[in-house]
Amino acid sequence: MPATQSRINDFVLKIATVNGTGSASANGLLMQALFRMGIPVTGKNMFPSNIQGLPTWYEIRASRNGYMARSGRVDIMVAMNAQTYQQDMNNVSPGGFLIYDSTWPRERSMTRNDITILGVPLSKLCNENFSVARIRILMKNVAYVGVLAALLDIDLDIVHALLEETFAAKPKLVEGNLQAIRVGYDYARENFTCPLPVHAEKMGNNAGKILIDGNAATGLGCVYAGATVGAWYPITPSTSVMDAFTHYCEMFRTDADTGEKRYCIVQAEDELAAAGMVLGANWVGARAFTPTSGPGISLMSEFIGFAYYAEIPSVFIDVQRVGPSTGMPTRTQQCDLMLCAYASHGDTRHPMLFPANPGECFEFAVKAFDLADRLQTPIFLMSDLDIGMNDWMVPQLEWDDSYRPDRGKVLGPADLDKMERFVRYTDTDGDGITYRTLPGEDSRGAYFVRGSGHNRQGGYTEDSKEYEDVMQRLLVKWETARKMVPPAVMTRAKKKTRLGILAFGSSDGAVIEARDQLAQQGIHTNYLRIRGFPFGTEVLDFLHDHDTVFVVEQNRDGQMKSLLKLETNNPADKLVSILHFNGMPITSDCVVKGVSKHLASEAAA
């Protein structure tokens, strides 16, 4: 048996299956069981753009230190898919374990000497224990949970409790599932030394933590923000934002007596229409949003420019996926920064928020509506597939009941009473933000929304000076936005350093872990996590205060680096890109290597 380092509560478990076989619930069960043992966990789902029959992987990382990113290791691989067996075996880290279904013989060539291969006749066991074909397939997944429970020393009581909660309404299912678990568990105990040197150990109960994906948190945030209109066109990976919004609206916004809904969700004919609906609803004073992904933003761009120029609050949630074009819909990237920052023709620019985890998805979703109403402009919530569709452990979401939405500068009939004449686009406060009125309230507040040239009164114009006047004022508003978006968060190194790392969104976890590893090698870095665009002064200061700033991002072209160059007048040679764009969530390994490689090349030069 190859030498294996003992790894307690510090391992990566990867499960290779075929999509459509019901493995998701088995994988969720494993993840939740580890979570309830008090071990920090994250789950990454790597799935195909397909309904049934293609390879899919689920990667669970248990990390007693609380690292949330992918590490690049695989300690235990459960290879349930013959189609990808070779690849899955190759991916196991030296000293690791490979578990496979030994019902059928494996090709002799498929072996490795530096890992331990454990065969479990899962199909055979399930065929012996279950009679219905579909049940046999489903229970095969549950049976490997049993095998892993034995090998990794996962608390069976917790597994039982989870099954009972999951199938509370269908007690019969609990029985079958428990039987499958027992079959796998017993086989492993009888045939292998349990537990493996790599295993789990109860370390608390993760009090104050929850498991949630970013899209559910975003949908919930929209409910808490008081959004009433959601317009959307189905697109991976954003669809589950609207699923969550619908679910929570049904739960919280449906009148118990009458069944009346205090929300309206419109599945639009396309993304263009979804954007139009968002503008229409916000125009009349209902908070409205659309969740989409890159291709949707491309289609919405005309309306986005309209909303910028006509100054209509609107919230666009971009759950980014791999581009260009259709790209890889079920893979992750941070590739729509340039698209969203300047979406639409003419001079346009838009505030963006960058949540790094589901907790911030919830928080920033609420923030996005406040900013949209306050700034009367499109706001982009820049999530991605990794945050949106994967399972994250985060601190419980908090809500302050004293929160009141910021509806911005809206004049009602009482305000109009005090005015001689209402005009739409005159800046009376010096912040570039003008007052609006809502349709349906008062004819004295009536004005005409248009995307064509208009003057500060709101009238149509083709006059050069009047046109420039409005465009210049929009720049004043942009400066106001700079002070309102969430500021970047700075984390200092333990030692003074001139090296900086700048990242945003779902790269956060990889950077946190990489910094610790680099520090162990004597490389100290300060870290700035950008949370909003336009960039605040703290970003300028950070760039100024460091000799080298590594910009970590998940796209090919260094879009954040480009934005920094465009928006900050910073010497470009200071910025060093660390890019990861293969569609899988970024690993800490990638950041460590990127930094080390650059420093080595500098030392050589």
Partner: protein
């Protein structure tokens, strides 16, 4: 363009509506369209209809896309909010507006380019959702602002100003709308104010998507011999299939009709539309009858006008969705936000 602004002086004896407003209060800014443009007549009909219906200006929203037609919301009811959106996308903005505030009276003004080419999809889906609005198409068969290209409603064989014939099929918004399941479909002519005013009123009262296709000649690019959307051609070939009378809730239906000559459709607000038909066999409450009637008269080279199809019972968007009766924008934050305790309880299931 008309250069003469009408003087804003109070003339003695001007009539006021139930809200105490003059017809002039329903006017907008001065039209910048060509003198004689059919669209200006439609604007005038809108002003008259809205005034006669005593619709409070602030309860009205006017929306449009892009094109000559889409300029017109600026020319009526100055006291109503207006939204001149992007090309072909008026229906989606109207959908959002109505989703957010279902009490608004929505008038969308579009054109044949706006609705039958670039916005064909949104046109179809406003009908599919039965969005409660008056959807007006000012149909002239031609792109005016870009100087005279054929639009999708140009009839095969009709000619452009310089004589080039249109060789493609025309998209007929009326037949298309009926086929797609519209609940109210009418056609009129900008030169027939009397008919137009009644159809506008009926369309506004109709609780659903009321499509009103109005042949509205373009005097600059499509009013020549060889055009099938000219004043002369339309006057000669139009065939009034039905004469609609909009009867408000409080008023009584007084006219007497012979059996089969007229039908009365009761609207949900208590008002009625009385339809006098040219042909007793024609049943505008049946899709097959309406489509058959349209085809029959197309073969005769006629342009049927009037209310051509109506289904009062098809539910409008909010009825389909089960949205609250109170406009969504009116709900207080407390009515929308579940609060801290609910969030904590919810998260117990996330462990």
């Amino acid at each position: 363009m008309t250069y003469i602004t009408k003087p804003k002086i109070d003339l003695p004896g001007q009539k006021r509506n139930a809200l105490g407003l003059l017809q002039r209060d329903y006017e907008g800014s001065m039209s910048t369209l060509c003198a004689g443009c059919g669209h200006d007549s439609i604007t005038a009909a809108l002003v008259q209809a809205l005034w006669e219906m005593s619709i409070a200006p602030e309860k009205l929203v006017k929306l449009s896309g892009i094109g000559c037609s889409s300029k017109t919301p600026a020319y009526f009811v100055k006291g109503a909010h207006g939204f001149n959106s992007v090309h072909g996308r008026m229906p989606s903005v109207a959908t959002g507006a109505h989703a957010g505030n279902r009490d608004l009276i929505c008038i969308g003004v579009s054109g044949d380019g706006d609705s039958l080419s670039i916005g064909f999809g949104q046109f179809g889906h406003a009908i599919r959702r039965n969005l409660n609005m008056l959807y007006l198409i000012e149909n002239n068969g031609v792109y005016g602002l870009t100087k005279g290209q054929f639009s999708a409603s140009a009839d095969p064989g009709s000619t452009a100003k310089k004589g080039a014939p249109n060789l493609m099929q025309s998209i007929n918004p009326v037949a298309t709308a009926i086929a797609m399941g519209a609940s109210f479909v009418a056609r009129s002519f900008s030169g027939d104010r009397e008919q137009l005013v009644e159809l506008i009123k009926a369309g506004i009262a109709h609780p659903g998507c009321a499509l009103l296709d109005v042949i509205s000649p373009c005097v600059t690019f499509n009013d020549h011999e060889g055009s099938t959307k000219s004043y002369a051609y339309t006057r000669l070939h139009k065939h009034q299939a039905t004469a609609a009378d909009y009867v408000p809730a409080a008023a009584e239906i007084t006219a007497q009709y012979a059996e089969g000559e007229a039908i009365s459709v009761k609207l949900h607000d208590g008002s009625s539309i009385v339809l006098k038909k040219a042909d007793s066999d024609f049943d505008p409450t049946k899709r097959s009858s309406a489509l058959g009637y349209l085809e029959k008269h197309r073969d005769l080279g006629e342009i049927p006008t009037g209310l051509l199809f109506i289904d009062e019972d098809w539910p409008e968007m909010h009825a389909i969705y089960g949205t609250a009766a109170k406009p969504l924008k009116e709900f207080t934050f407390a009515e929308l936000n579940p609060g801290r305790e609910a969030l904590q309880k919810l998260q117990r299931g996330m462990r």
